[in-house]
Amino acid sequence: MASIGPNELFFLAQGLKWTLALTLIGFVGGGIFGLIVALARTAESAALRRVTTGYIAVFQGTPLLMQLFVVYYGVALIGLNIDAWLAVAIAFTLHASAFLGEIWRGGIQAVPKGQTEAAKALGLHYVSTMKDVVLPQAFKISLPATIGFLVQLIKGTSLAAIVGFVELSRAGQIVSNQTFRPLTVFAIVGLAYFLICWPLSLWGARTERRLQTATR
């Protein structure tokens, strides 16, 4: 049995780097598109609302793994010759945009209607109403759920391993196959995820408690 030395740990650290990169891309990209989704989902136009409702329903009603597969093979199909990691990043961005869009939709709708009406009475136009009045409050309300989704996304990036992308989980699988020490390797991999996700979860729970006492 080979032992787990600095080389193996370095390989896992490389995988961890990709896990964090994928999460970051998914969260930032998903955040930008998610905002558009949330705004369209709460727009006055019924057609926009219906389209985004369908978009969210599809992403929430299918496995993330399938979304990865379909996007991965889909981009090749439409003739785009792009790197595997870019295809995976696109899939995570789309996935995150649907979930964040739904979370922020809830936040926007939880802002009292009087706020929008007051903004209108003050003569603010749509952009200003959203940017200065509604969205800051909506983000505050949806912060716990947003953090919760971030944790979900970090864990979700592990599925890129099944598509063959070498992030933390896949790196763990490779090291495990080389060293025949699955117990140690997967314990290390699990611990790495835990150390990233747990503080975020605690932070999410704390913001939720604070929000509850603030609104009570």
Binding site: P63, V151, A161, S169, Q173, L183, F186, G190, F194
Partner: protein, 222 residues
């Protein structure tokens, strides 16, 4: 480059896929039932007088909720044999789904139990009910009713998570799709079709959950 979509491979092997879809539903149902049991027992243990037991439950919930399902299933399938526990893929999948769903169920059900007003429990005591009766009728039943929407949406997510069980080659929809893909090289067509199948499965499940809710929770609250 021009590529023509060809779904004939999918259509030809549709019976195989539908059978695998049933296996997916089976895995999901087994996972959900065990998760509910773990959820209720976990909540009971979390309210226990023993600090150690409470700590264990909290630790279990935090570890499961903050690590990916893929790593959990790998751990059970690849690491446990090192400790002498060897399980077949289907059993591994069910255990992993039950533990994962169970951890979330504990958190969700606990939220409902905590929301039961103290006066209701005292009313139960005043009526002469004993502890078991109070837990069952005064605490658990109303709590389950309160958390039913979040619990069932968690279960729909658990159903979608079953696709990850393909990583240990458990028999379910995704692993069968991967086999068909390897045979036919029609990757996009195969995955696109089973994505639709998953959409049908999750919609069906949501429909059934809504129906159950209407039948079993139709008594008035106040």
């Amino acid at each position: 480059m021009s590529y023509t979509l060809d779904f004939s491979a999918v259509i030809e092997r549709l019976p195989e896929l539908l059978l695998a879809a049933l296996a997916t539903i089976g895995l999901a149902l087994a996972g959900m039932s065990l998760a509910t049991v773990i959820g209720v027992l976990g909540v009971v243990a979390r309210r226990s007088r023993f600090k150690l037991l409470r700590g264990l439950v909290i630790g279990f919930v935090e570890v499961i909720r903050n690590t990916p399902f893929l790593v959990q299933i790998f751990f059970i399938f690849f690491a446990l044999p090192q400790l002498g526990v060897r399980l077949n893929p289907t059993v591994t999948a069910i255990i992993a789904l039950a533990l994962n769903g169970g951890a979330y169920a504990i958190e969700i059900i606990r939220g409902g139990v905590d929301a039961i007003p103290k006066g209701q429990i005292e009313a139960g005591l005043a009526l002469g009910l004993h502890r078991g009766q109070i837990f069952r009728h005064v605490i658990l039943k109303p709590a389950l009713r309160t958390v039913y929407p979040s619990l069932t949406s968690q279960f729909v997510m658990l159903t979608l998570t079953t696709s990850v069980c393909t990583s240990i080659a458990a028999y379910e929809l995704t692993s069968v799709a991967q086999k068909i893909e390897a045979d036919t090289f029609r990757s996009f067509e195969v995955y696109f079709s089973i994505t639709l199948l998953y959409l049908v499965i999750s919609s069906l499940m949501m429909g059934v959950f809504a129906l159950i809710s209407r039948i079993s929770f139709n008594y008035p609250v106040k």
